[in-house]
């Protein structure tokens, strides 16, 4: 250690000499005096080798003189001129440049001394980062890419799900949000999806506890699908405990992008890991406490709308009149959901009368009501957080309390959340240390919105609503009352038009999805330092979750549930793991240190769900004018008997591993790891030969700048390389044996059974991912510019995929081990400080860029169908030479020069009968650029990010277009349209299209509707104004007077604007699919929102 310091000092001294040679030019024979001073770190330690430059105000900068601090941190200028005014600059690698301005040199003997404290840089080169298993390592020793995100980057502009704040801050990170309500969950993909249907997301580790598969498990209810036009319940997003983490409580987030993390975390980290460390006690003095209170409030509103048309009203086929029901004007035209009806031209028709609940007695003016978006509320969210930390005896304690209350943009939805966290560190003896962390979260909601496209969904109503109708007509949703044709109140729900959608106000007030969820995540760690060289660690972790959910449906909740329904689920999930680790570190030769770590772990995961349903409720005889709800929502009210849908999962992974670390001096580090896992999900009921698998890794880092002399503008240069393998068997059990399931929830006599529709794989093998990564980290111009570059080449073999198979095989899907997929990419992380000044204006810039290319090298068949869409045969297909996420579907027939071919008879575009390639659903490039401006106590932060190169199919767009709701469907009404393209002549040649299509509904149906996947496939490229925040930090001197140590106040906005060719809401959508969130097929997504809020933080 000492020798490296020496070496470094030498280097820096060289730099100083260089400066002296350059700048210490002419000196005049004026009276010179000695000016000296000391440079300390913030903590008060002396800092040597700091370059100090003195510039005389009357000179230009070229005449500066410089000095370097010695081992005591002292610098001396002996030739400064008395009476002159100098500006001093202090700089050192790893520290922020400091200024001391306008120092007047006094007479010799007077106090010509300075005391300067240098602040360490946030990008500290000696910074310690948390890597796998909570092992702290100096950043320079890492042989793989790791991005650290600090707590303030997460809390400056918070949103409902704190993981949103990772967008644009980590190169190669792709956040997929379900966007389905206030508790919406998200999944994090690092470096592209190399496995489309299986486990492909990053491991989430909170204080050493993996939460993905227990409390962090997303779980939709069985049979609840986002595309459900059979009138059944649609899924609500109940969120996961990842959303429940209080961002104020997070100390830092480390993102390990490659599989390097897996060496220590095991197979589940094959797709990288997000390591979240929550805050611990940091008060050093006994009996003193730090107290911090933070309040954060924000408003949320819809930030983007589809372009709806308000020129034509309800009707079909360009009808010239309108009639609500059959009237003297003619037959009813009010049954349709299309808006291909009469133009709003000042005429009057018999229309719906909301008071009479039927057709009006008189004709009323035919006009547009542009108020569909009045339906959305303004979301409101308020978070309070209090933390106290201090030291009692030999124990450091931190307690964190948080509450959150949220009302979402869908009326009558939201949640309340409480968190409490406790963390302790105890020195039992000098050698034995105990630390614990426990977080408890409680979240309850009386209603979360059901997402997706189906008769019960709000977005379905949104699509089916009419430009010629007033959304306010729907507010009084119960049919009945005086003189009504309905038999009683509270039994029939009124919706004036097509019977397909439900009344949205009935949905938000009566179709309730409730949750009450408790989760505890915690660990206990014992560290024993046996000798200076040998230490042991023992840890137990627990992640536990219990959720009670309920879905209430009133009478008339669609045909599946005409007498209402009550469904209750109890979900219990738990993951326990034990880790043991022994570590031996020793200097085995001069400058060579060896570390050997051996460890083992066992984890047991358990998940149980009961789902009890009463699909049909008894209606009380005498409601007496009062609503019988919610008393009716009781399993005792079941009309037909109960059905049960149990679900369970159990698995265990045992592991042993070893790590060897070798370092030479302070610049060459090598790490070799090996791990053996045994995963129970690969066992069959008869044998266990596939369950074990071994994988090695090696990584090395080399600090070039420590060894060779580099050009002076390079302060730091690190090269790194790693090769890692990881095997994985996934975490879904019971897929290795052919089993029969209870038919239809067990309603048949004799517990009849059905064959499985997913074909199991009795020979399931672990997949194997190998990644080779090269990287470099560079710092230029005294830390004013920093670059981190990573290039990786990955290969995944034997992927575990759920493949949609030809039903002629007798099954719908099959679990396979398939093929080889290559994933290559580049990630660049950049930061720069163009303007730095001591008390004036500071400007820093940070950015990320990532590129990922995915290629399928082999597959068991020429093409493997991964996921089929619901409309127009859109599907995700994996074929050799293609890449994961390739979207295919029916599209336009095109002539050789690429023009759309139209049907000479109808004027409609012609549709292919074979599927064609429509694009890839995974973005190729993602980049972001953030700017931070600081002036005195103000700090302004703005962040933009973008993605390029992906497409997706929009179901909302297809349906809106098909029903004539979009502005793009206006051309050609009444007079017909000639599509832009060609028609084929009888001789086979093409001429410019000259055929007028008069059936406009059908024309748009063929162009963008359900016949044609291409017509509703759009680029999801976007540029987002992701974050803006303005923060004011009160002056410490001011605060001291009122007894505070710190106080900041800020305002912020998130997702303020989106620029994108995507036609419907957010191009960055995700779609709930059981426990997964998938991309590629937009299926009735909720509007995307922007949030704007304030935050106030006070420290005592």
């Amino acid at each position: 250690m000492r020798s490296t310091m020496k070496r470094r000092r030498r280097c820096i001294r060289c730099l100083g000499l260089l400066f002296l040679l350059l700048f210490n030019g002419a000196t005049f024979a004026q009276e010179t005096v000695v000016v000296s001073g000391t440079v300390l770190t913030e903590k008060g330690e002396v800092l040597q080798a700091v370059t100090v430059i003195a510039t005389r105000r009357s000179d230009n900068a070229h005449k500066a003189v410089s000095a370097i601090t010695n081992e005591k941190g002292i610098f001396t200028f002996s030739q400064l001129k008395m009476g002159e005014v100098y500006d001093f600059t202090f700089s050192s690698v790893g520290y922020e440049t400091q200024f001391h301005k306008a120092f007047t040199v006094k007479q010799a003997g007077n106090s010509n001394t300075l005391l300067i404290r240098l602040k360490s840089q946030s990008e500290d080169l000696n910074e310690v980062v948390v890597t796998a298993l909570g092992i702290k390592k100096s950043e320079r020793s890492l042989g793989y890419a790791l991005t650290k995100v600090d707590s303030n980057q997460l809390t400056n502009a918070t949103s409902l799900n704190w993981t949103d704040a990772l967008s644009g801050k980590v190169a190669g990170l792709n956040l997929i949000r379900s966007g389905s309500g206030p508790a919406a969950s998200s999944k994090i993909i690092l470096r592209g999806e190399n496995n489309l249907t299986g486990d492909n997301e990053a491991l989430i580790v909170v204080d050493g506890v993996v939460i993905n598969n227990s409390s962090g498990r997303r779980s939709a209810n069985r049979s609840d699908q986002v595309y459900a036009t059979n009138s059944d319940n649609l899924p609500a997003d109940y969120g996961s405990s990842l959303n429940d983490i209080n961002p104020q409580d997070i100390e830092s987030v480390s993102v390990l992008k490659g599989p390097a993390a897996a060496a220590l975390y095991g197979q589940r980290a094959a797709n990288g890991a997000i390591i979240i460390t929550t805050k611990s006690a940091n008060q050093k003095k006994k009996g003193h406490f730090n107290v911090r209170y933070t309040i954060n409030g924000n408003l949320e509103e819809v930030n983007r709308h589809p372009d709806l048309q308000y020129e034509y009203g309800q009707g079909l086929g360009g009808a010239l009149y309108y009639s609500y029901g059959a009237t003297e004007d003619g037959a009813s035209t009010s049954g349709t959901s299309s808006a291909y009806g009469p133009k709003f031209d000042g005429q009057s028709f018999f229309q719906y009368d909301p008071v009479r609940q039927t057709v009006g007695l008189q004709r009323t003016p035919w006009k547009a009501y542009n108020n569909i978006n009045d339906f959305w509320d303004r979301g409101q969210d308020l978070k309070n957080n209090l933390s106290i930390d201090g030291k009692l005896g030999s124990t450091g304690i931190r307690v964190n309390l948080g509450t959150e209350k949220d009302k979402w943009i869908v009326p009558n939805t939201g949640f309340v959340r409480q968190n409490i966290g406790l963390s302790t560190n105890t020195d039992i003896t000098e050698k034995l240390k105990l630390s614990t962390k426990v977080n408890y979260g409680y979240r309850t909601s009386d209603n979360l919105p059901a997402a997706g496209y189906g008769n019960q969904s709000l977005m379905y109503w949104y699509i089916f609503w009419q430009p010629s109708a007033d959304v306010n007509w729907l507010r009084n949703y119960w049919a009945g009352g005086n003189g009504s044709i309905y038999d009683s109140l509270y039994k029939n729900i009124r919706f004036p038009f097509s019977s397909f959608p439900e009344n949205p106000y009935a949905i938000t007030n009566e179709f309730l999805s409730k949750t009450r969820r408790n989760n505890v995540t915690g660990n206990v760690t014992l560290n024993y330092q046996a000798t200076k060289e040998l230490s042991f660690m023992l840890r137990g972790s627990l992640d536990w979750m219990h959720d009670k959910r309920e879905q209430d449906r009133p009478y008339d909740a669609g045909t599946r549930l005409p007498t209402g329904s009550l469904r209750k689920q109890t979900i219990y999930s738990q993951e326990k793991s034990y880790d043991f680790m022994a570590k031996y570190v020793r200097e085995i030769a001069r400058d060579v240190r060896l570390g050997v770590t051996l460890g083992g772990s066992q984890l047991k995961n358990k998940y149980d769900k009961t789902d009890i349903r009463a699909d049909g409720l008894k209606y009380p005889n005498t409601p007496a004018g009062d609503s019988p709800y919610p008393q009716i929502y009781n399993l005792n009210s079941s009309l037909y008997g109960l059905t049960y849908y149990p679900d369970t999962s159990r698995y265990q992974i045992n592991s042993i591993y070893g790590v060897i670390n070798i370092s030479y001096k302070n610049y060459l580090f090598t790490e070799i790891t090996g791990r053996q896992d045994w995963n129970s999900v690969l066992a069959t009921p008869k044998r266990t030969d596939n369950v074990g698998f071994f994988y090695p890794s090696i990584n090395t880092s080399f600090i070039l700048s420590e060894v060779t002399k580099l050009p002076t503008f390079i302060n730091y240069a690190k090269l790194r390389a790693s090769y890692a393998q990881v095997g994985s068997g996934g975490t879904t059990p019971y897929r290795t044996a052919y089993t029969y399931a209870l038919a239809n929830g067990g309603i048949y006599p004799d517990s009849a059974l059905v064959s499985p529709s997913l074909l199991p794989n009795v020979n399931l093998k672990p997949l194997l991912t190998s990644t080779f990564e090269l990287g470099t980290e560079l710092q230029f111009f005294n830390g004013r510019l920093g670059v981190d570059l990573a290039v990786y080449f990955g290969n995944t073999r034997n992927q575990i995929l759920t493949r949609t198979v030809d039903a002629a095989s007798g099954y719908s899907a099959a679990l396979i081990n398939a093929g080889t997929v290559r994933n290559n990419g580049v990630e660049i992380q950049l930061n720069a400080k163009p303007i730095v000044s001591i008390s004036g204006f500071n400007w820093s810039v940070y950015g990320t860029f990532s590129y990922n290319k995915n290629k399928i090298l082999s597959m068991p068949d020429s093409s493997v169908l991964l996921r089929a869409g619901n409309i127009a045969s859109g599907q995700i297909v994996a074929s050799v030479g293609g890449s994961m996420g390739d979207l295919y579907g029916l599209g336009y027939q095109r002539s050789r020069d690429g023009q759309v071919i139209f049907d000479p008879a109808t004027g409609f575009p012609k549709i292919t009968s074979n599927i064609i390639y429509l694009g890839n659903t995974t973005p190729k490039y993602k980049f972001s650029l953030g700017n931070n401006f600081r002036y005195r106590n103000f700090s302004l932060n703005v962040l933009f990010d973008a993605q390029v190169g992906a497409v997706a199919y929009s179901l909302t767009h297809y349906k809106l277009a098909e029903q004539g709701k979009l502005k793009t469907t206006l051309p050609g009404r009444y007079n017909g349209i000639i599509g832009n393209g060609v028609v084929q002549n009888p001789d086979g040649s093409y001429r410019k299209n000259d055929v007028v299509a008069t059936d406009i509904d059908q024309y748009y149906q063929y162009s963008m509707g359900s016949y044609n996947a291409e017509g509703s496939t759009f680029s999801t490229d976007f540029l987002k104004f992701r974050e803006a925040s303005l923060i004011y930090a009160f002056k410490p001197t001011l605060l001291k007077k009122v007894g505070l140590t710190s106080a900041t106040i800020g305002i912020y906005g998130r997702d303020l604007f989106i620029w994108s060719p995507w036609p419907i809401f957010d191009p960055e959508f995700g779609t709930l699919a059981g426990s997964d969130i998938v991309t590629g097929f937009e299926t009735g997504q909720f509007p995307s929102t922007r949030s704007m809020g304030f935050t106030l933080s006070i420290g005592l």
Binding site: S499, L598, T739, A752, S755, G810, D861
Partner: protein, 521 residues
């Protein structure tokens, strides 16, 4: 220190060996909910119900529209009646029936295991397979057959077989089923919603189905002789080839007639179709006008055949009163105003159990009336002995009796003689002097009503015979020609591309206008 290291390593390795790293994994990864092994009786009931439903579903939305029973009144994309529908129409039956075929295959194969050997379940499994495979091949043409259902043997890309080979094998399977069922080995009554364990009736069903399939391909020159001989053999040897003797023998699941969501035998129309959708389509004038002309007991609402307010088919009068349907195949924007329609079950004043949606009788696989009309055709063509007229009348009577219990199945009863008078008024009575085409027209108009609600059979028969003669509207697509098949599901192009391409090369373009083997001359 090095010694210490060795010791530590040794201890570590010993510990990890002692503590076995995969102990108990076999039991741990055994699904505690789903079941590893089973027997035929557990699989049969859901397989039957789940296989009937897709046919019922498509009967409503597809067959009825093509065959002018109904005319959809909904938004633009549902114009089956105009022969314009999207390719995704193809996916449903393919996916639903093939998956149920797996269950029937297992009913057969599990009953062949030594421990649970049961000849009756073997035969029933085979009948289920023949029934579904025949509907699949009649719908799509060439389909995977000999190597279908082999997913559990790692073959998920089955090769497509020629329709002729499929038919010849279906015949073989039915022969085997007939033999297996002859032994009359008992089965579990609750496993059999069709016949409550009466194995003899399954045998009649096998041979009746045999007749249906023989007749279907009897127009093909290369198999015609064989078909005729077989039909004759079946008819001439009733003890060796028993067939349906009355409506009591017909193959159908009798639904409960209730609306419970937890009764497996609630009509799937109740839980599977929304009431407003059920009453959505208008009745087509072709279907309704004949019933009116014949004062048919199935539609009349008066007692004794009807309830007084509604008839047995649950046809509701037009809003504002009146019995009229709409014409099919009209140009977009020129449709008639909706008249009569099939009442949904929620209108209990006139509908309820009288609605086809709730009606217990809609789970039809094959009716006795169809057999009689098959025999009428065979007799008219001179293939079998017997009076075509008797078969014809028995077909009519049984077809009516199926829906109208107060209408006797006996053709000598007064009900029927009255009905004959009504038919005569519309010139729909048998006349031995008519040429064969005339007789075929008579038989097939009645068969059209006998096959009402029977999956896609009306459409199959129309494709074979061109009967009944359906009026053609101005707005028809596909050149005004009845679709000859459904295209293969589009996803098969990606899921089974090599075999798909081979099938298209063998059968012809994957279009609805490409005739299947038995349709070609």
């Amino acid at each position: 220190m090095r010694r210490h290291l060795y010791t530590a390593w040794l201890v570590f390795m010993t510990l990890s060996t002692l503590y076995s790293c995969k102990k108990g994994f076999e039991a741990l990864n055994r699904d505690p909910i789903n079941i590893l092994g089973t027997t035929s009786d557990k699989l049969l009931a859901p397989a039957l119900a789940n296989a009937i439903w897709p046919g019922m579903n498509r009967n409503r939305s597809f067959t009825n529209e093509l065959m002018q029973v109904t005319v959809a009144q909904s938004d633009g994309d549902n114009t089956v009646f105009r022969y314009a529908f999207k390719n995704s129409m193809s996916d449903y039956l393919w996916n639903a029936w093939y998956v149920q075929l797996t269950n029937f295959k297992q009913v057969d194969s599990l009953a062949r295991k030594e421990k649970n050997s049961n000849a009756s379940y073997q035969g029933i499994g085979k009948i289920g397979k023949v029934w579904l495979f025949s509907m699949l091949t009649d719908t799509y043409g060439d389909i995977p057959y000999f190597h279908a259902l082999e997913g559990d043997q790692q073959n998920v890309v089955p090769v497509f077989d020629r329709q002729k080979d499929i038919y010849l094998d279906l015949f073989k399977q039915l022969e085997e089923a007939n033999t297996l069922l002859a032994s009359g080995v008992a089965i579990v009554a609750t496993s059999d919603p069709l016949y409550k364990g009466e194995v003899a009736k399954w045998r009649k069903f096998a041979n009746s189905l045999y007749l249906r399939l023989l007749l279907r391909v009897s127009g093909k020159a290369d198999v015609q002789q064989q078909c005729i001989e077989k039909i004759k053999e079946i008819v001439d040897n009733p003890s060796q080839y028993p067939i349906f003797q009355s409506n009591a023998d017909g193959a159908r699941i009798l639904w409960s007639g209730g609306v419970s969501t937890t009764d497996p035998y609630t009509s799937p129309y109740v839980n599977g179709v929304r009431a407003q959708d059920f009453r959505g389509p208008a009745l087509c004038s072709f279907f309704l006008d004949n019933l009116i002309a014949w004062s048919d007991p199935r539609y009349v609402s008066s007692i004794p055949y009807g309830s007084g307010s509604i008839g047995r088919l649950g046809i509701s009068q037009a809003s504002g009163g009146g019995w009229y349907g709409v014409k099919s195949g009209y140009l977009p924007g020129t449709g008639d105003v909706k008249g009569c329609y099939f009442q949904s079950y929620d209108n209990t004043s006139t509908g309820g159990t009288w609605s086809l949606q709730q009606n217990a009788l809609t789970g039809i696989i094959m009716q006795y009336a169809e057999v009689q009309l098959i025999l009428a055709e065979a007799a008219a063509k001179g293939w079998i002995a017997g009076e075509p007229k008797t078969f014809f009348y028995q077909g009519i009577a049984s077809a009516i009796n199926y829906w109208v219990p107060n209408f006797s199945e006996n053709i000598t009863a007064a009900d029927f003689t009255t009905h004959l008078v009504n038919l005569a008024a519309a010139s729909e009575v048998w006349n031995d002097n008519l040429p064969l085409e005339g007789k075929m027209e008579l038989i097939h108009l009645q068969k059209y009503y006998a096959l009402f609600m029977t999956d896609l059979q009306q459409w199959f028969e129309y494709r074979r015979t061109g009967l009944p003669v359906l009026p053609k509207g101005q707005g028809m697509s596909n050149g005004g020609v009845m679709p000859a098949r459904l295209v293969y599901p589009v996803y098969v192009q990606a899921a089974n591309p090599v075999n798909y391409k081979a099938a298209v090369a063998a059968q012809g373009p994957d279009e609805i206008s490409t005739n299947v083997w038995w349709q070609r001359p």
